[in-house]
């Protein structure tokens, strides 16, 4: 093993999005030795995703200046950035943590890093689009809304010409605006909930996030400019096509969120972008034993204190893993975690290096904590405005694929509950196999929990979601890699025992 295969640091940060960059910069500015690991080819995460050769996200991107400042700070403070690598296992080791890494592909890699050891670990792994199955959603041309946006942000590629964007939440508006500006014909944005016109106006500012209001107004203007129809209380209830998407059914929803059949219309389309909020990526945090809670949007999130400390000593979390709340909040939490790790390791903290000189550390922390509380209220209001419609399972057919990897149909999930007596998502997974494939339930886990709740009448609990979401190996590895791993940092329970 070459020396460069193993990195040692005071602080390891997983994720180079808004939270991770902020956390790393803050800790490094205080003199701590920091390593950041990210699966992407470039830092920025999903929010500040940008293309090869670009200095940063496109002009007009919200927080672009923040990205540039944070990015420059990493260089100035000697933060080591390991891009193109995934953490496949995280474990405790002596007084700290050991991360096992592998490149995101299997080709020979000159600069492959196998391991990062650090005294403290800050997990900023963000999240990804949450999905609800719909008949035909396994056809090519159906994408996660964030995936369609990622392709556009990073490669300037729009994967279709006639686009329907559907699901719930303000993110749909951002995705649709981007696609329309890039030249796609967005034939409809379908928002399953009603009060959306509300967030396109004052309430955002009233909730203390004026920048969000400005952003929303800009997207709304783009939709108006491109004459994109915005339909509330409407969902995509079926996707038609043979080898790829040809058309979609759009159906109005009643007050219980059930499709009103009489309103169904069929619209030609070749790209369907779906998003029902976001799922935080908790793999590493759950493996390390961090305590969780159910957030207002039904997502499992990790509990943190006012310094972003989890219940595991030395382990911090910032950004979407503590509750879906967006990039502005992620930066605040990242900075707070950096301040906390600095204090916890007994460093004096920054003495003023230009950009952030001035307020004392405690004043900065207090201001950030106040911002985090404001951001949390804002997120709670959005979660309340954009729930998953209660009656959504009414659009499922027996043969609708729930688990895309294992091709488990809705009927098999029903069978597991009604005939085999499964009462919780994990038992459904064992009996019917949703969540047993390559993605390990990342895509279907939330929907499987909702379907189980719908069929059994038992509410979802943090314990049930946690049982479904535990992934001791956070990425597929070869047996050789597994065999070469050190037992002392293996998960406490061997995953196959």
């Amino acid at each position: 093993m070459r020396s460069s295969d193993v990195l040692t640091a005071d602080v390891a940060v997983v994720g180079a999005g808004p939270a991770g960059l902020a956390a790393a910069g803050e800790a490094a500015a205080a003199g701590l030795d920091v390593v950041v690991v990210d699966a992407g080819a470039r830092p920025g995460g999903q929010y500040w995703r940008h293309g090869p050769g670009a200095e940063g996200p496109a002009p007009g991107t919200h927080g672009r200046g923040t990205f540039s400042t944070l990015r420059a700070g990493l260089g100035r403070h000697g933060v080591r950035l390991v891009c193109g690598h995934q953490v496949w296992q995280a474990g405790r080791h002596d007084d700290g943590f050991v991360l096992r890494l592998r490149p995101v592909h299997d080709f020979p890699h000159d600069d492959a890093v196998e391991r990062v050891s650090a005294r403290r670990l800050i997990v900023c792994t963000g999240g990804y689009d949450r999905q609800l199955p719909v008949p035909g959603w396994d056809l090519p041309g159906v994408m996660a809304a964030g995936g369609a946006q990622a392709l556009l942000k990073e490669y300037g590629t729009v994967p279709g010409q006639r686009v329907v964007v559907a699901g719930t939440g303000p993110f749909l508006v951002a995705v649709a605006a981007g696609l329309a500006e890039a030249g796609a014909r967005v034939v409809a944005v379908c928002e399953a909930n009603a009060p959306v016109r509300g967030w396109l106006r004052r309430p955002l500012a009233a909730l203390g996030e004026p920048a969000k209001a400005v952003e929303a107004v800009r997207y709304a203007a783009a939709l108006a400019r491109h004459r994109v129809p915005y339909r509330t209380r409407t969902a995509v209830t079926r996707v038609h096509g043979d080898d790829s998407v040809r058309a979609v059914d759009l159906t109005a929803l009643d007050h219980d969120g059930r499709p009103r059949e009489a309103t169904r219309t069929t619209v030609p389309a070749d790209l369907v972008a779906l998003g029902w909020g976001f799922t935080p990526s908790l793999d590493l945090l759950l493996t390390l034993g961090a305590a969780t809670r159910l957030d207002g949007d039904g997502s499992l999130v990790v509990r943190v204190d006012d310094g972003q400390r989890t219940t595991v000593p030395g382990l911090y979390a910032a950004g979407e893993t503590t509750g879906i709340a967006g990039a502005t909040q992620a930066v605040r939490e990242g900075l707070l975690s950096g301040l906390a790790v600095t204090a916890d390791l007994g460093r004096a903290g920054r003495t003023g290096d230009g950009v952030d000189a001035g307020p004392s550390r405690s004043r900065r922390a207090a201001r950030l904590r106040s911002g985090v509380r404001r951001g949390r209220r804002f997120a709670e209001a959005l979660h309340a405005a954009c729930p998953v419609p209660a009656g959504w399972t009414a659009w499922l057919a027996g043969d609708t694929v729930v688990c895309r990897c294992e091709e488990v149909p809705f009927a098999a999930v029903c069978h597991a509950v009604r005939e085999l007596g499964a009462e919780d998502p994990r038992t459904v997974k064992m009996l019917a196999r949703p969540g047993m494939g390559m993605c390990q339930g990342r895509v279907c886990g939330f929907a499987t929990a909702l379907i189980t709740r719908h069929l059994t009448g038992h509410p979802s609990t943090a314990e049930a979601l946690s049982a479904f979401g535990k992934r001791p190996l956070a990425a597929p590895v070869t047996l050789a890699e597994l065999a070469a791993s050190d037992d002392r940092t293996a998960p406490r329970t061997a995953p196959w025992s």
């Binding site: 895509v443 190996l473 070869t478």
Partner: protein
């Protein structure tokens, strides 16, 4: 920054081989972006229903976009950058030694080299 890959390559365009065609792509594009720009939206079929699959999550989470790259099966097309001369195939390699991350103790076979990649060798049916 020794570990931050250099996006630039000497080639102005990459030639990529897929399904008997030679496509051209700008260096730095992902395999998925290069295929989608050519109007190719699916590049594998599922092991049960044989349904076509391509890009879904677009960010490395869902493993729907798996493709064989230069003989390496099951690479995520959304994460791999194109290189000049790259050969892309619908991934089918039954002797692969990869298992998924075993999920919380319910699959005793996952650690013994069975293939769980969702197509090709398909061990899913063998799970007891």
């Amino acid at each position: 920054m020794p570990h931050e890959p250099d996006d630039r390559t000497d080639a102005e365009v990459c030639r990529v081989h897929f399904g008997g065609r030679t496509l051209t792509a700008q260096p730095g594009l992902s395999v998925a972006a290069a295929l989608v720009r050519e109007g190719i939206t699916s590049w594998r079929s599922t092991r049960r229903a044989g349904g076509p699959r391509g890009l879904f999550c677009g960010i490395g989470v869902c493993y729907d976009c798996l493709i064989t790259v230069d003989g390496h099966p099951d690479q995520r097309a959304c994460l791999v950058a194109v290189r000049d001369g790259m050969r892309l195939e619908d991934g089918r390699c039954p002797e692969d030694d990869r298992g998924t991350g075993p999920d919380d103790g319910v699959r005793p076979d996952a650690a013994v080299g069975s293939r769980e990649t969702g197509h090709g060798g398909g061990s899913g049916d063998a799970v007891k």
